[in-house]
C-alpha cells in the first residue's frame, strides 16, 4: 500500500553497510557517506509518499536544522567532541519524544499498545534530552564536574521512577487524561537531571555512551508508535551501539554500570588522598638527561593521557616521534580505553595531529609490547598506568585493566605536578627503580626535549 516502506528497508541496509565499513579506517569515510545516503533516501521517500504534509514548513525546519548542525560540525574542536555528541544525543532524544507527543495529541482512537509505546518514547526521549544537557554542562564546565549528591537521593529517584510507572500505566488506561500526559513528561525530565548530576566528570564517557544508546531506544520506540520499520531498525542499531560502547567503557574502568550511575565516584577525592599516605621517593630528571635515554633506546611506546590533550601537545609529541623515527627508532602509542573523555577520543585527538593510525595500539595489542620496550613515555596519564590496579586489593582502581608500562626498561613520566589522578590516589609507579619523572607542561617539555635531542 505504502511504497515508502521499500525505501526504509533500503535505507536500513545502507546504514548497516555503512557501519560495516567503519570496521577499518581505510573504508570508514565511505561508510559514513553510505549511511548518509541512506538517510537522504529515507527522508526523500517520506516527503514524496505522505501527501498531507506542509512541505514549505518542513523545508524551513530542515534548513534551520541543517545550518545549526553544519555550524556545530565545522566549528567544534576535537577536544570538545564529547560535549557535541552529548548535545546531539539530546536533540535526537527530544525529536523522538516530540514526535510521540504529536501522535498523542492527534485526536482519534489510540490503542493500548500504541499508548504504551508513546509513553516509553516520551519517557526515554525526554530523559535523554535533560540528561544530555546536564552531561554537556558538566563537560563544558558550566556545572561542577564533581558528583552532586544529597541525602535520600536514591530514595527520591526511586519514588520518581515509581510515580512515572504509575502515571504511565494510568495514561494507557485513560488516554484522554491530559494531566497524566504532562506528569509523564515532567517526571521524565526531572529523572534525566537527577540521574545525571550525581555522576562524576571522570565517568562522563560512560554516561555519553549510555545516552547515545537511549537516543536510539527513543527512536525505536517512536518507530513502534508510528509502526515504521525505518525508525525501528535504525533505533535498534544505535541502541545496540551505545550499549556496546557503554560496556567497553565500564570494563575499561572495571566498574559495573550500576556503580557508575549510583556510585558517585570521585566525591571523596581528598579523604582517600589522605588515607593512602604512602610517600614515594622519586627521581626527577631534566629534559636533557631524558634526551640521552631516548637516544640510547630502540623501541619507544608513548602513553598519552588526557593531560596531553589539555596541554594541546599532540603536535609536539608527533614532532618528537618523527625525529626519533628518523633516527631508526620504533615509536608506538598505547591507548587505554578510557584515555579520553569518550570512547576512542584519544585516537581522534592524535589523528588530528597527523599521527598515523597504524601506530595507535589498544590495550590488548600493546601490553605484550612493553616487555621489550626501552622507554615508555607517559604523558599526562596516571590511573591507567598505576600498577596498584594489579595487586593492591584496597586500591579504588583495583582490577582495572592497565597499561603495563612498568615492564619497560625505563619509564619516563611527564606531569605538571605530583597531583593525584581522577581516582585521587598516589601512583606507586613514580617511585619504581626504573621510573624517572620529568616535570612541566607537556607541550613545553616535549618542545624542549626535541631541542635537546637535536643537539645530541
Amino acid at each position: 500500500m505504502n511504497y515508502s516502506n521499500i525505501f526504509y528497508v533500503l535505507a536500513s541496509v545502507l546504514f548497516i553497510l555503512g557501519i560495516k565499513k567503519l570496521s577499518h579506517p581505510k573504508t570508514a569515510r565511505d561508510g559514513n557517506f553510505i549511511a548518509a545516503s541512506g538517510m537522504l533516501i529515507a527522508i526523500l521517500a517520506t516527503l514524496l509518499s505522505y501527501g498531507k504534509i506542509d512541505l514549505q514548513m518542513i523545508l524551513v525546519g530542515m534548513i534551520i536544522g541543517s545550518v545549526i548542525g553544519a555550524t556545530f560540525a565545522l566549528k567544534v574542536e576535537m577536544t570538545q567532541m564529547p560535549q557535541m555528541v552529548a548535545i546531539f544525543n539530546g536533540f535526537g532524544g527530544s525529536a523522538s519524544a516530540l514526535v510521540a507527543a504529536a501522535e498523542f495529541l492527534k485526536t482519534g482512537d489510540i490503542s493500548a499498545f500504541t499508548m504504551g509505546t508513546i509513553v516509553v518514547s516520551i519517557f526515554v526521549g525526554t530523559l535523554t534530552f535533560t540528561g544530555s544537557f546536564i552531561a554537556f554542562g558538566k563537560l563544558q564546565g558550566f556545572i561542577s564536574g564533581q558528583p552532586i549528591v544529597f541525602p535520600g537521593q536514591q530514595v527520591i529517584n526511586a519514588l520518581f521512577a515509581l510515580g512515572l510507572l504509575m502515571l504511565g500505566f494510568y495514561l494507557v488506561q485513560e488516554p484522554n487524561e491530559m494531566n497524566f500526559f504532562y506528569g509523564v513528561i515532567i517526571i521524565s525530565a526531572v529523572l534525566g537531571i537527577t540521574l545525571t548530576i550525581p555522576i562524576g566528570g571522570a565517568d562522563m564517557p560512560v554516561v555519553i555512551s549510555l545516552l547515545n544508546s537511549y537516543s536510539g531506544i527513543a527512536a525505536a520506540a517512536t518507530g513502534f508508535v508510528l509502526m515504521n520499520n525505518g525508525l525501528i531498525i535504525s533505533g535498534a542499531l544505535v541502541g545496540a551501539s551505545g550499549l556496546i560502547l557503554t560496556n567497553i567503557m565500564c570494563k575499561g574502568m572495571n566498574r559495573s554500570l550500576a556503580n557508575v550511575i549510583f556510585g558517585a565516584v570521585g566525591l571523596e577525592q581528598e579523604s582517600s588522598q589522605g588515607d593512602s599516605g604512602k610517600q614515594v621517593s622519586i627521581k626527577s630528571y631534566s629534559t636533557e638527561e631524558a634526551a640521552m635515554i631516548f637516544d640510547a633506546a630502540d623501541k619507544i611506546i608513548v602513553v598519552p593521557g588526557y593531560g596531553l590533550a589539555v596541554a594541546q601537545a599532540q603536535h609536539a609529541i608527533r614532532e618528537v616521534a618523527e625525529f626519533l623515527e628518523s633516527k631508526g627508532k620504533q615509536v608506538l602509542y598505547a591507548i587505554h580505553p578510557v584515555a579520553g573523555r569518550m570512547p576512542g577520543h584519544m585516537n581522534v585527538l592524535l589523528a588530528e595531529a597527523n599521527i598515523p593510525y597504524e601506530q595507535l595500539k589498544d590495550l590488548d595489542e600493546v601490553n605484550p609490547e612493553f616487555e621489550d620496550c626501552d622507554v615508555a613515555l607517559v604523558l599526562g596519564a596516571n590511573d591507567v598506568v598505576n600498577p596498584a590496579a594489579r595487586h593492591d586489593t584496597s586500591s579504588p582502581i583495583y582490577g582495572m585493566p592497565i597499561l603495563d608500562v612498568d615492564k619497560s626498561r625505563t619509564v619516563i613520566i611527564n606531569k605538571r605536578t605530583m597531583n593525584t589522578g581522577f581516582a585521587g590516589i598516589q601512583n606507586e609507579l613514580f617511585g619504581f627503580d626504573n621510573s624517572i619523572m620529568v616535570f612541566g607542561d607537556a607541550k613545553d617539555m616535549l618542545q624542549q626535549l626535541l631541542k635537546d635531542l637535536k643537539e645530541l
Binding site: M62, L98, I233
Partner: protein, 89 residues
C-alpha cells in the same frame, strides 16, 4: 500489536551487536557521532507527524524536524571531518 514489527526490532538489535563489535576502538568516536546521526532518523517520524492539520501537534512536529535535522546533518558532517583525519603513514 504486530508481531512482525517486534521481530524486526529484535533481529535489528542482533545485527547491530554483530557489526558494531567489529568496529575497532580507534574508530569508536566516529562510530558514536555516526550512529548519533543515524538516530536522527526520527526526522522521518517528525515529517510524518506534521501531517496533522493544524493544532499543537504540527508545531511539535516542526520543532522535531529542526532537532532531528541538526542531529542528521551535524552528525554525518562531523563524522566525515574526523574520518578525514585518519591517515596512514
Amino acid at each position: 500489536m504486530d508481531i512482525n514489527i517486534i521481530t524486526v526490532f529484535i533481529l535489528a538489535i542482533f545485527v547491530g551487536i554483530e557489526i558494531i563489535t567489529k568496529v575497532p576502538p580507534t574508530l569508536h568516536t566516529p562510530l558514536m557521532s555516526g550512529s548519533n546521526a543515524i538516530s536522527g532518523i526520527a526526522v522521518v517520524g517528525a515529517i510524518i507527524s506534521t501531517t496533522i492539520d493544524g493544532g499543537v501537534g504540527t508545531y511539535l512536529g516542526l520543532v522535531a524536524v529542526i532537532f532531528a535535522t541538526i542531529n542528521v546533518v551535524g552528525g554525518f558532517m562531523v563524522t566525515d571531518r574526523m574520518l578525514k583525519m585518519f591517515k596512514r603513514k
